[in-house]
Symmetry: C2
């Protein structure tokens, strides 16, 4: 019997500046709006995902908010959390796993397993790698009304341009945009 | 008598990818949508401006479409056209002038002269320079549903982050976004 294809969707869902930086060079995010309906909508939308993927720097960024090394992020408390790193310790936790495998191979396999939608919360390097490998199905941007001018870009290094299709958009009173794009195969 | 302040507004109005490149590295724009209501709206909106500013590369980019060196761009046929360059020949044309002065000083003076709205059509270097000098009042983006991954950025080199206020937005059926932001002083 062939394994069932569950076609779990991978969504890169991230806050950006108007010039599409996901953080300043020092990983701070001054200028992003931290209050408003876009935040409550975002937190509600996390219920759509049962799995979250992140790079090492994105995971470790949470340490400043009290996450202990090896602990899952409480923001994604209902999700299985995978952190891609070849250098991080192999922590033992039911809800957190460090992945040393190639991220594209891992995601390809994950998509064939039973489960719900997969959330890629960052960063730009991991997103580029998975985008180049054709594994990102959807991009959701929360565009904040600020220009950074420099910082950590949405994608660090794409090897080709990729057409998108805008599938949903919302404009908040505070000027934040919610934009949902399907990645065209 | 004090000179009248006309407070002419300078708008940086440009097409971008979702990851906010205004062109590929080779100055092509494959992936931007060249047909649709966003194009006719754009061409209509040019009537709002009586002056256009551009950098040398942006001006010379038009040569491939048949503009002869020293001729103004027919797209902006009703506008006075200023090209900033220290190296370009000083052409003589009623409607086109090469400016060797500092762009920020020139714009500051231009804003005190009688006239209408001023359109900055590119590129990213000139826009950065004028943004850093506090001379850009408004940014209008036509965001095309494509990611470039690399290319010529919206701003090449800003020296600080700048808060914006979204003042107008339109979503076209083809997925192009029209976004108008006021630059917060």
């Amino acid at each position: 019997m062939q394994p069932t294809s569950y076609q779990r969707k991978l969504t890169y869902y991230v806050a950006t500046s108007v010039d599409h930086y996901i953080a300043h060079d020092d990983e701070t995010m001054d200028g992003f709006l931290l209050e408003g309906h876009h935040v409550t909508d975002y937190l509600s939308s996390l219920r759509d995902y049962d799995t979250v993927l992140m790079g090492r720097r994105t995971y470790q960024w949470g340490f400043q908010f009290g996450i202990e090394p090896g602990q899952p992020s409480p923001t994604y408390s209902h999700m299985m959390q995978y952190v891609f790193s070849k250098s991080m310790e192999q922590y033992r936790h039911d809800q957190l796993q460090v992945i040393r495998d190639d991220p594209a191979d891992f995601v390809q396999k994950l998509k064939t397993e039973k489960g719900g939608a997969i959330y890629l919360c960052g960063g730009g390097q991991l997103a580029s790698y998975l985008m180049n490998a054709g594994q990102i199905d959807e991009i959701i941007l929360k565009v904040n009304p600020v220009v950074f001018g420099s910082g950590i870009p949405l994608f660090s290094d794409l090897n080709q341009h990729t057409c998108l299709a805008l599938s949903d958009a919302k404009i908040y009173d505070n000027g934040v945009l919610f934009l949902r794009y399907a990645v065209r195969g």
